[in-house]
Amino acid sequence: MTQHDNLVELSRVRFLRGDRPIFDGIDLNVAAGSVTAFLGPSGTGKTTLLRLISGQLRPASGSVRVDGQEVPQLRRKALYALRRQMGMLFQSGALLTDYNVFENIAFPLREHTDLPESLIRHLVLMKLELVGLRGARALMPDELSGGMARRVALARALALDPAMIMYDEPFVGLDPISKGMIVRLVRLVNDALGLTSIVVTHDLEDVLQVADYCYLISQGKVMAHGTPEALRADDSPWVRQFMRGEPDGPVQFHYPASTYAEDLLGERR
């Protein structure tokens, strides 16, 4: 991996859920070695974007290339080989609830390698040390706080030394200290391990601290993209509304509906 300038390239991607288009011809690139953020209001399909990149979903049309490979066309074996190069951090952590912290991180190593137990122990402890949870290795997932579960999931995502890591809403529902730790880890892990990182979030302030490049996505399109500084300086109404968190603007507070008077006086539905 990483011989291409862009590790991930999406071009003219259309994706439908039922008849409703989630993405309508979206284009974006993720430069190798960067931390790239996909930002946008809730419900714009940011997580769907990660699932398209990882091949869990297929687009209706368009091209999704990861490391030069056309993901939707890969057969299961090739797709799994590619996924070994990708780590993904789920919003919930998605730890295996029957295994303790140590076994969760050892899981991908045991599944994909024949390493001796002593080496697996070293690797697991190394990953746990990186996320600061070496002392928590015997805990079960239900004994972890939200922030700890996400750090364990990060250690697990790093277990196979991937070239790229995808974070799905890593900052949601965390207290300021845990959030600060995750923000720090995103940058640290990216730089220390030479990874490419994609962070999907609607948490603006946190991600602007760590991202090298941002895409603002809404209504199935890329509304704006650029470095955090460029976006802060952008004067278009949509970007301004999103960056400043204004409740009304191009993105309306009200879900599309008939007039209120019509609803009150018309037939009951």
């Binding site: 990882s54 996924r83 993904m88 789920f90 919930s92 899981f107 599944e111």
Partner: protein, 260 residues
């Protein structure tokens, strides 16, 4: 694919689509079995969870079913002076029908529901997606071992159920009601044929094991990823398995004993 007019939104179309996707799923699971067999540790753990932990309910039920059969059988047979045939009545009823069917119904309730709930919950909490992202196929790692364990466990549980049932019949018939022990065992030995009675029970138990395991893993794997979805998958597993076992038992009995 465009379905003919009238079938597009009908119950029948839904049913056909359901059976179709369940069959494709079964083929995927069956294809994974050679790889699953290479990891016996995973299968043994599941045999413990679905089989060994079902032993208590299967043994107690088997014993009581045999005891009731003996009581009912004796009361009727004694009117014709044929109480010596009690062993045959108890043994044949258990081997041919009650063993496989009652054990399968209990297995669906005890283990099928547990498997569906477990897989459904793993899906709802993104554990299956996480495995896919770690390039681990959940069909190999999660579904296959549970399916194979069900297939191995039910025939063994049926054998235990039937054996304890015959023993329960002996306790009531011989020890309590005074049927001659030699007649009880002797008549079973002379009247029960391996091919017709024992083998038919074994075949039924294997078919039911496959059916319940299939329904349970399919319901769990395709459950809607919500609390209600998992609860529906669990209920559906028990309801569909029970009906399928009873219906298929009728078909199998018709096929196997039509020449009698």
């Amino acid at each position: 694919m465009k379905l003919p007019i009238g079938l597009q939104h009908g119950v029948l179309a839904g049913l056909l689509a359901g059976i179709g996707s369940a069959t494709i799923f079964l083929l995927r699971v069956l294809r994974s079995l050679p790889l699953v067999a290479l990891r016996p540790g995973l299968v043994v753990r599941q045999v413990y969870l679905v089989g060994v932990l079902s032993l208590v309910i299967i043994m107690i039920s088997g014993l009581f079913v045999g005891m009731v059969l003996a009581l009912q059988g004796y009361n009727n047979l004694v009117r014709f002076g044929a109480e010596e045939s009690l062993g045959v009545i108890v043994a044949l009823s258990l081997m041919r029908e009650l063993g496989p069917v009652v054990a399968a119904l209990l297995f669906a309730g005890r283990s099928g529901s547990a498997v569906a709930a477990e897989i459904g919950l793993m899906k709802a909490t993104d554990q299956l997606s996480a495995m896919e992202m770690m390039a681990v196929d959940p069909i190999h790692r999660v579904v296959g071992p549970r399916f194979l364990a069900g297939l191995i466990s039910l025939p063994l549980l049926v054998a235990i159920f039937t054996t304890l049932g015959i023993f329960g019949g002996y306790v009531i018939g011989v020890q309590l009601l005074g049927v001659d022990a030699g007649s009880y065992w002797g008549q079973i030995e002379s009247a029960a044929s391996f091919r017709e009675d024992v083998l038919s029970g074994i075949i039924k138990s294997i078919v039911f094991g496959l059916l319940i395991s299939w329904i349970a893993v399919f319901q769990g794997y395709t459950a809607t990823a919500t609390a209600e979805g998992v609860s529906r998958a669990t209920t559906q597993t028990v309801v569909i398995s029970s009906l399928a076992v009873l219906a298929l038992d009728f078909v199998l009995t018709g096929l196997m004993f039509s020449g009698d």
